[in-house]
């Protein structure tokens, strides 16, 4: 199994490959879209192709990429996590409050990481052990966290110490730390999902939970782990986002962010119906969505029109996915 492909997409014999090529052509779609968007932006935007600009785009992508990776884990499982923005915002705010009260920045970062992870664990327990519907649980969690975040801060941003931000934005060999974190994380997780049995359990559970259960896969634990992981990724994104903004703000957790996350996963080739997708898919999707957002920003497209466009993008890609599924399970 090659490291780029997993789940249903594996090396195929010559005989199958013709049929498979027809069914799974969508697997190449994210790469095609990335190239097309990239080419279009570089033609129309001067200075786009300079190193410093590319790095700044990637830095901008970092937190969305991490959120999309977390979302991918849950989507591969056949679930969804709509609470990631709120969970991230609340983690960021707790960490910032701790530092404002004189707390150690390292511990502040740990709080930003663990509060979202704990909230993700609650999502996971609700879905796996109580059999609740992921959509409802995480939507409610989004309401709780964004409500709490707004209430606690009174809608005012909480500044964080500059040394915290500077440490997070250090450049190593000219590359900002968040980009390096995303790179290492992506490589590590790509390896984990395609090469370890935990990864295989994730795909098998997302493909058919009942079969997995009969075969002895600890499906409840897999579900629990995926939602907790999504929470943890919300925490990592919280640290990076807070450093870039030099402040924690409930604005980080607004509902529209969830749409960017899910759009990233869907455009990147993570199936919203479970069983398909990798970390690389999520990151590619995040880059595409960031580029599209930037272009719309530069073209002065109104905020509301960008919502319309992103919504259409999600539906289009989910439709392509659903259509290819229909063919494969004739």
């Amino acid at each position: 199994m090659s490291i780029l492909n997993s789940g249903v997409t594996q090396q195929l014999s010559k005989k199958d490959s013709k049929e498979a090529a027809d069914i799974y052509w969508t697997r190449y779609l994210p790469y095609i879209v990335l190239v097309v968007v990239f080419a279009a932006v570089s033609i129309f935007v001067p200075y786009f192709l300079t190193i410093s600009n590319l790095l700044s785009v990637l830095l901008q992508t970092a937190s969305l990429a991490i959120l999309a990776i977390g979302q991918a884990a849950v989507l591969i499982l056949g679930g969804i996590d709509l609470s990631m923005p709120g969970v991230m915002a609340l983690g960021s705010i707790f960490g910032a409050m701790y530092m404002r009260a004189g707390g150690n920045p390292v511990l502040g970062a740990v709080i930003m990481l663990l509060v979202p992870a704990a909230l993700g664990l609650i999502n996971g327990i609700s879905v796996s052990y109580f059999g609740m519907i992921p959509f409802v649980v995480t939507l409610a969690m989004q309401a709780i966290t964004i409500g709490a975040a707004t209430m606690i801060t009174n809608q005012i941003s909480i500044p964080v110490p500059e040394n915290f931000c500077n440490a997070m934005l250090t450049k190593i060999g000219g590359i900002p730390l968040p980009i390096i974190i995303v790179l290492i994380l992506t490589l590590f997780l790509q390896f984990a999902v395609t090469k370890t049995y935990y990864g295989r359990w994730l795909y098998s559970t997302g493909t058919n939970m009942r079969t997995s259960r009969v075969s002895g896969v600890p499906t409840k634990k897999v579900v629990l782990a995926a939602y907790s992981f999504a929470g943890l990724m919300g925490g990592l994104a919280a640290i990076i986002m807070t450093s870039r903004l030099y402040a924690a703000s409930p604005q980080m957790g607004k509902d529209a962010v969830a749409m960017d996350i899910i759009a990233s996963a869907a455009v990147g080739g993570v199936s919203t119906m479970g069983g398909v997708g990798t970390a690389v898919n999520a990151v590619i999707g995040a880059i595409i969505i960031t580029l599209i957002s930037n272009v719309m920003n530069m073209a002065n497209v109104s905020y509301y029109l960008t919502l319309v466009i992103k919504g259409i993008i999600i539906i289009t890609f989910v439709a392509i996915d659903a259509n290819s599924r229909k063919k494969s399970t004739k």
């Binding site: 249903v8 498979a20 075969s215 069983g275």
Partner: protein, 503 residues
């Protein structure tokens, strides 16, 4: 003799690969209860579905009251006064009794559902059945027996002349059953034609006037119930000429006890199940559909909950009680529904076959969670060859394989893990003759290698060709146990209740 009220003449129906009905003729008169019996797959349901308009026959005619009628849809059947009380109650738990009864034919008044009329009619019909419920009560708040009454009430709404009962007692308590029988007798006295399909011969003897037996889609016999004994009917059901020539029975040598089940139960589903399984033996769990056989199998591996009882498994040289959630570690389970619970359809043969064994296919520390793909491929290859699974490559998606090869993939998954115990629920369902023989051979080989195996099958020849011992289930309990010398008749008679005393 007068002309029968209902006559089905020369009905034939074939499905791809099976001739379900071959020229069956069937008569029923008003004021009598006719029992329709036969083994699983004998054609009872197909015949009644022809009458109910759910299945169109290839040939044959239906006469009601001497006149030929065409029934090509359930509404044609209803128009001809035929009502069907189904085995699986098509209930809408959150809706009211009245809504459930009228769901397909709400009367309207001024564009709104006319509840006044509905409630009035419901009360009348339910009273006739001896029930005094409020028609506004929700279905989930009444007992299964009462739900059955609602189902019958629905059938009676349009004053049918012919009422078909398909296994109506399968989910009823004995008191509810008595009440149902009273209702059926009343309907008979009112002059209806009653057709009663049952797995249980004791019910046939206590309720019915005439019996008709189907076997392999043909009429095997019939007549007044009073002229037959239980054994006569069992013989008609299984046929006397059929001899197991092409199913070669294999004997296995049973060793020490490997699993002991004591008193497991789940309220209303299975009662006090106790048995033991030894190394190297194949135990056939035999019973009619709905007897609880599948539920026992699922309970043993923790797929269905249990309310009590213990499962012990041999570890080292001691029998150790094992928590229900842990038994999966020692038991290879093959469920009856291959596609839903057996396979990861869009995934590869290799990934399907390694699924249960992944934790043993890893690299050495510190990479003990990384799958060793060479080992995974070689293990898969071993069992693909051993079971002669026809694939183009290990990467072939399982959904593109034939049913027989898919089933072998599932069995191969467990062979790779090599548990001491196997449970196989309908392991050859839907497979062709060649694949069935292959799977029976695999079962025999496994037993020879010392595994303890529990097999469930609806085909008596099949279960008899592999089993060393039989447990017979009826209504959620084990009612009999036989050794390898059991006859077909013993098994069928105990599972249908013909051998037991009248209740």
């Amino acid at each position: 003799m007068t002309i029968p009220y209902l006559k089905m003449d020369g009905i034939a129906k074939s499905f791809p690969g099976v001739q379900a009905l071959k020229n069956v003729t069937f008569e029923a008169s008003q004021g009598e209860i006719l029992a329709l019996v036969g083994a699983n797959g004998a054609g009872k349901s197909t015949l009644m579905n022809v009458l109910g308009g759910n299945i169109e026959p290839n040939s044959g005619k239906i006469y009601i009251n001497g006149k030929e009628v065409r029934i090509s849809s359930p509404s044609d059947a209803a128009a001809n006064g035929i009502a069907f009380v189904h085995q699986e109650m098509a209930m809408l738990p959150t809706m009211s009794i009245a809504d459930t009864m009228y769901i397909s034919s709400f009367p309207y008044k001024h564009g709104l559902i006319d509840y006044k009329t509905i409630y009035q009619r419901c009360r009348v019909v339910l009273k006739r059945l001896g029930c005094n419920f409020d028609p506004r009560e929700r279905i989930r708040n009444i007992s299964p027996g009462d739900q059955q009454m609602v189902e019958i009430g629905r059938a009676l709404l349009h004053d049918p002349q012919i009422i078909i009962f398909d296994e109506p007692t399968s989910s009823l308590t004995s008191r509810e059953k008595d009440h149902l029988f009273e209702v059926i007798r009343t309907l008979k006295q009112e002059g209806s034609v009653i057709i009663y399909i049952s797995h249980f011969l004791d019910e046939v003897f206590s309720l019915c006037d005439r019996v008709m037996v189907l076997r392999n889609g043909e009429t095997a016999g019939g007549g007044l119930v009073s002229e037959y004994t239980n054994r006569d009917i069992v013989k008609m059901m299984i046929g006397e000429k059929e001899i197991d020539t092409y199913y070669e029975r294999s004997e296995h040598r049973a060793g020490e006890e490997i699993m002991r089940v004591k008193g497991i139960y789940r309220s209303g589903v299975i009662n006090d199940i106790s048995f033991s399984l030894r190394k190297g033996e194949v135990v056939g769990l035999w019973g009619q559909l709905g007897s609880g056989r599948t539920e026992v199998a699922r309970a043993l591996v923790g797929l269905d909950p249990i309310d009590g009882g213990t499962i012990s498994i041999k570890m080292g040289d001691q029998m150790m009680p094992v928590k229900q959630s842990e038994t999966k570690k020692y038991i290879g389970m093959i469920t009856e529904n291959r596609r839903e619970e057996g396979l990861l359809l869009p995934m590869s043969v290799c990934n399907n076959m390694s699924l249960a064994n992944l934790t043993n296919l890893t690299k050495k520390k510190p990479f003990s969670s990384v799958i060793d793909s060479k080992l995974e491929n070689s293990e898969t290859d071993k069992y693909v060859k051993r079971m002669d699974i026809k694939i183009s490559s290990q990467a072939q998606r399982v959904e593109t394989l034939s049913g027989g090869n898919q089933q072998k993939v599932i069995i191969g998954r467990w062979l790779q893990k090599n548990p001491p115990i196997y449970i196989m629920d309908e392991p050859t369902r839907g497979l062709d003759v060649g694949a069935k023989a292959d799977i029976r051979r695999i079962i025999s080989d496994l037993a020879e290698q010392g595994a303890g195996i529990l097999v469930i099958s609806s085909e008596i020849e099949e279960i008899m060709s592999v089993s060393d011992r039989y447990l017979v289930m009826k209504r959620g309990s084990i009612v009999a146990e036989f050794g390898s010398n059991a006859s077909k008749e013993d098994l069928v008679a105990t599972a249908t209740g013909a051998a037991s005393k009248k209740e």
